[in-house]
Structures are given as C-alpha cells and as structure tokens.
Subunit: 293 residues, 2 copies
Amino acid sequence: MNILLECVPCFARQALDAVVEAVPDPGLREPILRRLLHEIADADWSGTPPAMAQRLHRAIRRELGHPDPYRAVKDRMNETARQLVPAMRARIAAHPDPREAAVRVAIGGNLLDVGAKTQIAAEDLSAHLETIWTQPLRGDLEGLFRAAERAHSILYLADNAGEIFFDRLLIEQLPAEKITVFMRGAPVLNDATAVDAEAAGLPEIAPVLDNGSDAPGTILEDCSRDFRDWFDRADLIIAKGQGNYETLSDVDRNIFFLFTVKCPLVAGRVGEPVGSLVVKPGRMQIEANEDSP
Amino acid sequence: MNILLECVPCFARQALDAVVEAVPDPGLREPILRRLLHEIADADWSGTPPAMAQRLHRAIRRELGHPDPYRAVKDRMNETARQLVPAMRARIAAHPDPREAAVRVAIGGNLLDVGAKTQIAAEDLSAHLETIWTQPLRGDLEGLFRAAERAHSILYLADNAGEIFFDRLLIEQLPAEKITVFMRGAPVLNDATAVDAEAAGLPEIAPVLDNGSDAPGTILEDCSRDFRDWFDRADLIIAKGQGNYETLSDVDRNIFFLFTVKCPLVAGRVGEPVGSLVVKPGRMQIEANEDSP
C-alpha cells in the first residue's frame, strides 16, 4: 500500500522517535531532525511507507557515521525476550489451542519494543504483554496452519529484534523442517538481522538467510536476487509485522501476514481496528478460497 | 512557551490539516505540503508554536496567491455559531451561575471548528457541544470576575471565528464598558479578524480594534505599536485560546488565559489534562496572590 498525504505527519513522528532513540547526543538531535524533515519533503511519495522509513534511517546512519545505532535497543529487546521465553513456552503448552497461543505470542512480541524504548520494569512489561491474550485475534488462523501443512517450502519473513525469540516459539508449532527464515539484510531501526536470529538460537531449528535489503519491510526490487528466487519458489510466505504487510500486500503470492495493526489507514484496509492481532491471508489466498467452495 | 522537538510532528500535522482545509485543488496539496515541510525544517525553532504556524500559513497564502484561504471555513463557523446563540444565551440565563456558564460557552466555542472542518450536521454538533457543560472547568473563575470588577481598562484578545459569537455572550457577563476587544490584524488560519467581530455584532457592545499581526496568537514584537501601548496600559488582559497562552504565558502582565487544553505539553505546563477548560491566571496574578493572603 502506498504513501498517502495522511502518512506525512507520521513520518515526522517516526523521525522524531528515531532521533530520540538513536542519537545519543541531545545537541545533535535538532540538526538531524531538520535534515530528516528535508528528506521527507524531497522523497518519492509514490512508494510504500517502509521505503520512506528506509530513507530516513539511511540518513540517520549517515549523519551519525554509525552502521547500527539501534544495536543497544535491539540487545535490550533480545534480553527481555530471552527472559520471557520460558513463561511464554509454558503458556503456549497450557493453552487449549497451543497453535493459537503461539500465533498470539509471535505477533504480540512486537510489543517488546515499548519495553526497550522506555526501559520499563520487567513486571510492568509483563502486565503490558497480557494484552496479547485479550486483544481480538482476527483473520484465518486455521487457514494458516492448513496452508503450512500443504506447503513444501515456507518462507518466514522476520520483523523485529526481541520478537524473533517469540517467532521461534511459533516456528516450533509449524512444520519447521519446511521453513527458511529470512532476516533484514542490514541494520535498520530495531529490525532483526542475522545476529538477532543467532541470539534467539533460530539456526538450531531452521536455516536462516537474509533478504539483502535495509528496508523495514520487504521491498522486492530492493532485495537480493537470491532472496527473490526463494520468494518466487516458496509455496507459502509467512510475513511478520506491519512493514511487511505494507510492502507485500499487493503482491500476488501465497502470503499470510501476521501483525499488530498500528495505523488507522492500515486498519481501514485490513478491516480490523488499531490494536488487533491479525492473521491476514494475502490476495492470492483469498482468490483461491473463492474458487474452491 | 517555546517550541520543543516534540512539537515538530504536530507542525507536520498542522501543515497537512492546512493543505486539506485551505487548498481546494487536491493536485496542489502534495507540492504545497512538501514546501511546508521545508519551511518547518528551515524555521527558527527558538520561538513559540504560533510563530511556526504564522510562518506556515504565510507560506500557504503565498503559494495559493490568496489572502484568506480560510474565509469559507470562517463563514461556516460564524453561521453555525449565529444559529446557536439563542440557545446558548438561554442556557446561560438558566444556569445556577450564569458567569460560569458564560465562561464555559466562550471557551467551548473553540469546538465550533470541528463542525466547520467536517461540516457535521447541526444536531451532531449540538451533541458535541454538550461537552462544554461536562468537561472540568479549572483555574480561578472567581478571580477572573473579581479582577474584572477592579480593573479600569480590560483588553479582550479574541481567538477564532464562530467562537467570537460566544465571546460576546461572555462580554455581556463582564463589565463591558471597560472592555476593548482585539482581533488578529490579518487573516491566519480560522482566527477571527475585524470582519468576524462585525458579523458577531461585537462593535455594538465594545470597541473592536486589531493587533496588527497575522500570528495565530499574540507575538508582542510582531504586533503594532498601537496594540502594544494598549497592552501595556491595560489593568487586565483576558486572552482567549491556546495560541494566546503559548505566546503570552511568559509575559509579566495581569492576564487571565481562557482556553481548552489541546496539547499534552501545554497540559503538562498548565497542570490540567488535555480537554480541560481552563481559566488560568498569568504569572503576575499568581505572584500578587502569593503576596496578599
């Protein structure tokens, strides 16, 4: 889905968040924020929102001369998630439907960034994470697991650091032997890269590769040739996070989008309110279902 | 109060609102919004938020080659207010404390811009306006009327079109013979100018002048010499709207600020939550009260 004029104030807010989180010297924040506003004003507005975020975060890394200004944030997210994994695994096992529980955990893992940003206490974060269990879970949960059973080859497109530990818990409920996990190709925002997959022990249960791109989403034309071959050949793609939805929702492939709805425009498109956890079949799946009664 | 980094996304939102409301040709909105973002990025960030809004709206008028792009919006606001005046006057008269009621009406008149923006139906607006009576009214209502009794010369600094009709209802509860009403000196946003005061029949009950400035607030150094003389000589200044609070809250004069708190940063400073109606004594008043028990 492409950028609308309504996205522009949100880009300015993302730019503010980025300088507050990624620029340690408060004296540098104002000049960098000014440059980011010029970037927004000069950017191509015909792409997707993650293309704008890619541009903003490239500019921040350039300004700071630092290849990964969110490394410390990501480390905190990973550490928080690592501590939560045993409790989450136990809750999944005890749940009447462990597969639903694992999906809730994997989508809800997104909330870890709140903890990382504000460095809130572990007990407060736990309270916050309770919303994973109470928020409506919309979409086609059964369809996801049915498609995974049928598929021969599954791509799992990861999203954030921290969350990647919870992705592992979902992959354990899926036919893991068919799955290849793809990370971002280079640091951007708090998105997970190979080093985070390693921290989560993901290579122990599935091959882990990267998509060759530094966009906080999956902009196919910006990804490596190798990734695009995998993408074209896979029977099923499980895409985590709103950024992957924004960049892949118009692509005609067999995709399930798993994410928390964070933006009112995405909410309008998905047909679910902000805050919902969704398991959203992509366009192709919807068409296939319409063909076969 | 001066601009903080946190204000920047809000300026982008104000720029978006402005192009949507003031630029009739949708094809012009994107290029103008891009230019406004550059304006924000290049502006002086050491002033007050209304100084930024002044700059943005000057740019919009320049881009459109139109001296008053909000004229139609203001006319709708005036017309809506005009229709509501009899009911509001009756509610004030029937209220156990007509002075409190008149203050609520004058502050709540601010809500008329919602109706004007969205062109919501009159009955929906009436429901919306009911919040005037239920929102907490904070500050020093008694102090305002006591100060008005004591004063020899009162300036009343108006805020928006539409709302100006309700200002008249408050002025009727004050010693009107002491009051001079000041309007913005030129069109900016949906702020009231002399023509709106005329529409509201204000000159029938008090002299109406203007401050010589096109800022959506009162930036003293940008106002006419004449206005500043009035400002310095007045015993009491009643300043309507958050823009006047943002620009005058640090000025050592006898001021009461009457406004709806719309911004979390202002809320923090005022000590009242967003949405509150406040009658906030200025710095000098607070000091005087501390001196005399």
